[in-house]
């Protein structure tokens, strides 16, 4: 049981990464590929946030009462904030990449009137 709990997050991250990677490689439809890319991104984010998690730790916001005496801050009591910072910006950047990817899809559809990879290749030849 202990080993399942300690490894489950990493297994799921590998599984999601494989799903996203497979979709990016094998799917014929461009929007399906974009969805695969998004799943790949979330797999990476799961990996980072799992690294930052700590057992019996609370969220990385220091509890401070108004006028309370400042107690010494225990490091093990707060989750690691650094992966959270990196991944916060990564999510917003992922919206940007999603927008650009969908814009490229729309541009291709405007030109070739199709979103299927093999149809576009046929028209290119």
């Amino acid at each position: 049981m202990q080993s399942i709990i300690s490894d489950y997050n990493y297994w799921v991250y590998i599984l999601l990464m494989m799903i996203g990677f497979y979709a990016m490689l094998a799917k014929n439809n461009l929007i399906k590929k974009v969805i695969g890319m998004s799943i790949f991104q979330t797999a990476i984010i799961i990996f980072y946030v799992s690294i930052g998690a700590k057992e019996h730790a609370t969220i990385p916001i220091i509890a401070h009462g108004h006028g309370a005496v400042e107690a010494a801050i225990d490091v093990a009591h707060y989750a690691n904030p650094l992966p959270h910072v990196l991944m916060l910006t990564a999510i917003v950047v992922s919206v940007g990449t999603l927008g650009v990817a969908l814009a490229i899809c729309l541009g291709i559809h405007r030109r070739y009137n199709s979103l299927e990879e093999d149809e576009i290749e046929e028209q290119l030849q």
């Binding site: 799921v12 490091v75 917003v92």
Partner: protein, 340 residues
């Protein structure tokens, strides 16, 4: 972290990811991807990453699924029938995926256990941030202080990346002429949808609350989860809601294209400008403690807090403008005539 919820939510996520890839209809895939994003937000919350969860909540519920629906609306919903020659591609992709998974699984054996407080990642840099943040900057939310102060340079270029993405979408899609040479007539003859009074009324009631809440998120990001990115995305989502429930033109009347792009520039410039102000006053780039010379009645610690607030406002303006611009370009195919 709460391991009971961890196990159940991760199982749901894997099922959702499989379904998203397997389903034949693109609109259904986009909708299941929306559910996937909800579950992701739950997972971050459960692991204690509240700021990440907030970003995922605003992005997943407000923007990314709507972008998918808009793109599908402008192209097609159907997935083509596969040719027989595709079997080889599938096999090669499967082998490549399995090899990648195997390599990652072998690497995983050396990882420290999940939720171990004494991993190398948690021992080297982050203890400084955790113990010193309140003392250095007077900001209790460690994520905000690391984002906007300690790693401010990084965040500035993240904002620049988002700005570049907005520019790229405009460069790819925006068409100013009515008739374009390489433009094939669209797939649909789009009918004017009849106005729906109930949706319009509720949207009109909710939009002020959403925008007020977004401003609260930006301003209160020092003390609770939130900040410029989240507030900006929520502000953008409020305009998207207006554009969906009302007319496309009505939102363009409030937020014209020119004003929108100008706001995006202003946001990035505000961020860089605060950095250059620090440089002018004689400190390093983005070293806000020097701002106490300019701001009245602040010491060097509070100056860092106020500098962070200025940067969050810049990020919020830039993200809002870029989100609106991306949505408008995608939903109208760059013509800005009519939308969803």
């Amino acid at each position: 972290m709460i391991w009971q919820l961890d196990l159940s939510i991760l199982t749901l996520i894997v099922i959702c990811a499989f379904a998203t890839i397997m389903v034949k209809d693109l609109l259904s895939a986009a909708i299941i991807f929306g559910a996937y994003s909800f579950l992701m937000c739950l997972l971050w919350t459960e692991m204690g990453a509240v700021d990440v969860a907030f970003t995922e909540a605003s992005v997943g519920a407000g923007v990314s699924t709507v972008l998918f629906i808009a793109a599908i609306y402008q192209t097609t919903r159907k997935v083509g029938v596969r040719k027989s020659g595709r079997l080889l591609t599938k096999a090669v992709a499967l082998v490549a995926t399995l090899i990648t998974g195997l390599v990652l699984l072998i690497a995983e054996a050396d990882f420290p256990g999940f939720a171990n407080p004494f991993t190398p990642a948690s021992l080297h840099l982050s203890p400084y941030y955790i113990t010193q943040t309140l003392h250095d900057t007077n900001v209790p939310n460690i994520v905000t202080s690391v984002l906007a102060d300690y790693r401010g340079f990084d965040t500035m270029f993240e904002t620049a990346v988002i700005f570049t993405a907005g520019l790229a979408v405009i460069a790819i899609l925006r068409r100013f002429k009515k008739e374009d040479r390489c433009d094939i007539p669209g797939p649909y003859v789009i009918s004017e949808a009849h106005p729906d009074t109930i949706i319009r009324f509720i949207a009109r009631q909710l939009v002020p609350f959403i925008q007020l809440f977004a401003l609260y998120v930006v301003a209160h990001g020092h003390h609770s989860p939130g900040g410029g990115f989240q507030g900006g995305v929520i502000l953008g989502a409020s305009f998207i809601l207006l554009a969906i429930s009302f007319d496309f033109k009505m939102v363009l009347g409030i937020m014209s294209e020119r004003l929108n792009i100008l706001l995006g520039n202003i946001g990035v410039l505000l961020y860089a400008g605060i950095g250059f102000l620090c440089l002018l006053l004689g400190a390093n780039f983005l070293d806000y403690s020097i701002l106490s010379k300019v701001l009245p009645a602040t010491d060097t610690i509070m100056a860092r807090s106020h500098g962070m607030l200025g940067i969050e406002i810049g990020v919020a303006i830039a993200v809002m403008a870029i989100v609106i611009s991306i949505y408008f370009n995608i939903v109208s195919r760059g013509k800005y005539d009519k939308g969803l």
